[in-house]
């Protein structure tokens, strides 16, 4: 029987609600990143660069864009006769409630997919981190330790540790305890949500966990269970660049780091390329009288205005006399003449009318969603059209079919939302 040594299961079903209106219409893994990429590109590229050519992508929340983006996997060379990338959405069966209720439940429901490849190892990944990692090295570590489970861990500052799931290890890396977001952490090794399992043992654990819990989850159920049954769990410490982009602030920071003179996360190394679906191929144009400094620009971008310290996506047009600073402009957005944008995120295909100003005034934390919009960043949602000559403050969120009349006195004060239609929840 043909078989694959290792199959990756990529969890891409989460909404990522702390990215605000950026994830109103798309799942977090499909959100643009770094000018021309989407967040999931980094994990998919890591797979193929590590020699893993069989990847199941588990989708659930707003999967359309993700489906279109991944397709049959051509950009990542994951279009294979045996293996390749397979999108695994929830499905209905005779005795099944259809939705994925937890991370482990999602994998459980796809046991037949994994069985088809008859693998020895399963690699569990999530599609919401920015990093370059050679999973083959982790697999070698897993084999060397004769582990049943290997968890990739990242050393975080102890004062931040309470935000993570932590592992406690013996000197040789063997895990003896877990702590899920403890108020007083005693370890600084955070789980990265990347696991390698022995398939046979893992398969049994999935089935057992499914019998006991409705929302079977890796961190809550599978790993503690396997630890309690004396399986060998090891921690694999990763010390490269690894960035969670789960909040607007972290997302903005990670984008801005790409602009550094020599970025810590370097996209320009040719031995570990990041692949994406290239819908646009023309070169970037910078017009006469334009100025562009400390920026990265995606394919087909046309700049006639002034852009500083910003990340500009593919096919973006920035008209003349516009000033963009410290901002992220995603694919195919159009920025009108004389527009001013400061520390804001403009999502894909948005259109900013001439002489509109965004990111002005005082830094007031958002009234409705203070846990999302607190870092001074204003966000304009996908395909949103902002009328000309309006002024928008800081920590604002604008999404949906807004019009001139949606603004009072042509203004939206800092900390206010203007969300119309579907995006309002």
């Amino acid at each position: 029987m043909r078989k694959k040594e290792i199959v990756a299961m990529l969890l891409a079903g989460g909404q990522g609600s702390r990215l605000g209106v950026l994830t109103s219409h798309v799942a977090k893994p499909a959100v643009s990143f770094g000018g021309k990429y989407r967040i999931i590109d980094f994990t998919l590229s890591n797979c193929i660069n590590s020699g893993i050519d069989t990847v199941g992508v588990l989708t659930q929340y707003q999967p359309l864009l993700l489906n279109q983006h991944i397709g049959i996997g051509i950009p990542w060379d994951l279009d294979k006769n045996f293996g390749g990338v397979t999108i695994l959405p929830p499905f209905v069966s005779k005795d099944n409630n259809a939705w994925y209720t937890g991370t482990a439940n999602a994998v459980y429901q796809n046991i037949p997919y994994i069985d088809y490849y008859n693998p020895e190892y399963i690699l569990i990944l999530s599609g919401d981190h920015i990093y370059k990692m050679d999973y083959e090295m982790m697999l070698n570590y897993h084999k060397k330790k004769k582990a049943d489970v290997t968890i990739a861990v990242y050393r975080v500052p102890i004062e931040d540790a309470h935000r993570f799931g932590l592992v406690k290890t013996e000197e040789d890396g063997k895990i003896y305890d877990f702590e899920e977001k403890p108020p007083n952490p005693t370890s600084d090794l955070a789980s990265m949500g990347i696991y390698i399992f022995e398939w046979k043992a893992f398969r049994q654990a999935l089935i057992l966990s499914e019998e006991s819990y409705e929302d079977s989850d890796f961190g809550k159920h599978i790993l503690p269970y396997m630890l309690s049954k004396n399986f060998n769990l090891y921690a694999y410490e990763f010390d490269g660049f690894w960035k969670d982009v789960g909040t607007l602030e972290a997302y903005w920071d990670a984008n801005m780091q790409l602009i550094d003179l020599v970025p810590e996360f370097n996209l320009y190394e040719s031995y570990w390329k990041i692949y994406t679906k290239n819908e646009v191929q023309p070169p970037q144009f910078i017009g006469q009288g334009a100025s562009v400094e400390m920026c990265i620009l995606g394919e087909g971008a046309e700049i006639y205005g002034h852009v500083y310290n910003s990340v500009i996506g593919s096919n973006v047009i920035i008209e003349k006399d516009a000033i963009i600073r410290d901002s992220i402009i995603m694919n195919s957005a159009i920025i009108g003449e004389g527009v001013q944008i400061y520390k804001s995120i403009i999502a894909e295909k948005a259109l900013i009318g001439a002489h509109t100003k965004i990111g002005m005034g005082e830094d007031v934390i958002n009234e409705e969603q203070p846990h999302i919009y607190y870092s001074g960043i204003s966000v304009v949602g996908e395909k949103t059209v902002i009328p000309p000559n309006v002024e928008i403050g800081k920590n604002c969120a604008i999404d949906g079919p807004v019009t001139k009349s949606s603004f009072i006195d042509n203004k939206l004060a800092s900390g206010k939302n203007l969300i119309i239609g579907e995006g309002s929840d």
Binding site: P283, Q288, G289, E293
Partner: protein, 372 residues
């Protein structure tokens, strides 16, 4: 589509001087992120032609590498597809292609085994966007034997490098001169033709019998009166890049917004092999004005009226003005490049000065004989 495609991409060319010593003309980089054959291939696929042969022989390696996967132009299909025909030996024949007609003759089985009623012939060095389904419709309406896509060269540039057609009121070609020293008209043949497949086979076979090998002089010129050859006037942009002058100008034409919009923003798109390069990075202290830059490039200096291809590095305080920098070239700090073409894979050390004149472009070629 009821036509198959043939792209002639084989010719040896000396007018491009040093740039084509290691590179097929059809593989010349154009407009920042394309190769010249991308235009011919995209036109075919965008017009619904699903079966295309690229005929090549001179320096074909660079071209074949570019065509190593046909999926970028959507030719990776069960039916049709992209075929690359290089010369090969048989018991009867051990010749290289002795001309364009001979190149088709040596691959005549491709035509004979096809079922499409028409054949579209195009050139690998034409920068153009054309819808062949419109040309075919015209061909059928005119009941033409051959339709030749022509371009009215209003600026009369390099007329002596092309075939010049004279037409009657109905656009039927009544006279045709190949590369005339003193051209009478300015209706240039773009080298794109539509012809019934069976007629093409017939004409090519009779050429071969008479030991004639060139499609233009032995088919078009010889049969111009006997066969009904019609000119289809192409209204948009067209340029052949087969001379240094036109190569430089064609690239610079893409700094013009209307030309850029026509090729890049209006559908259908021009497609190319995907290179997966990261975004262009423009660092602190750079100034860039009226220039195209391509992905994978890192810019620290001052760029003006220039075209940078993929993966170009420009050092601090370097000036690039009215120049074309081909892919994978490194330009160190404090360089000055003006009125020049820097070939791919060059490494210009700190302080290098290359200054051509506006009517005398300098070419800097890589020292190693890299084929890219």
């Amino acid at each position: 589509m009821r036509a198959l495609g043939i792209i002639l991409a084989g010719g040896k060319n000396e007018r491009l001087k040093d740039l084509s010593t290691n590179r097929a003309l059809a593989a010349m980089p154009v407009a920042g992120s394309y190769r010249s054959i991308d235009f011919a291939l995209s036109n075919m696929t965008n017009s619904g032609v699903s079966k295309v042969a690229v005929v090549t022989q001179y320096n074909s390696r660079s071209l074949i590498e570019h065509l190593s996967s046909s999926k970028w132009w959507d030719f990776g299909r069960k039916h049709g597809g992209l075929h690359v025909f290089t010369p090969y030996m048989t018991n009867e024949n051990s010749f290289w292609y002795r001309g364009t007609a001979d190149a088709i003759y040596q691959n005549l089985s491709y035509l004979k085994n096809s079922h499409e009623p028409y054949a579209i012939i195009a050139q690998g060095d034409g920068v153009v966007k054309v819808d062949y389904s419109k040309v075919l419709q015209y061909h059928i309406e005119k009941r033409a034997d051959i339709t030749m896509v022509c371009y009215e060269e209003k600026n009369k540039r390099e007329l002596n490098r092309f075939g010049i057609a004279t037409v009657d009121q109905d656009n039927r070609i009544i006279e045709f001169e190949e590369k005339p020293i003193e051209p009478e008209g300015n209706l240039v043949s773009t080298g794109m033709y539509i012809i019934r497949r069976r007629l093409l086979i017939e004409l090519i076979e009779s050429c071969a019998k008479e030991e004639r090998h060139d499609f233009v002089s032995d088919v078009i010129v010889r049969y111009r009166k006997q066969k009904k050859i019609y000119a289809y006037i192409h209204e948009g942009y067209w340029r052949s890049i087969a001379s240094l002058e036109s190569y430089f100008e064609t690239n610079m034409d893409f700094l013009d917004k209307s030309i850029r919009d026509d090729f890049f923003r209006k559908t259908p798109n021009i497609m190319s092999k995907v290179e997966d390069e990261p975004p262009v990075k423009i660092n602190y202290g750079s100034t860039v004005s009226n220039s195209l830059c391509s992905s994978g490039s890192i810019i620290n200096g001052n760029i003006e009226d220039s075209i940078l291809f993929r993966k170009v590095f420009i050092g601090n305080n370097s000036v690039v003005k009215n120049a074309i920098i081909l892919n994978d070239t490194y330009i160190g700090d404090h360089c000055h490049i003006e009125n020049a073409i820097i070939d791919s894979h060059c490494n210009l050390e700190e302080g290098t000065v290359v200054k051509g004149k506006e009517n005398e472009i300098i070419i800097i070629k890589t020292k190693d004989s890299s084929y890219k």
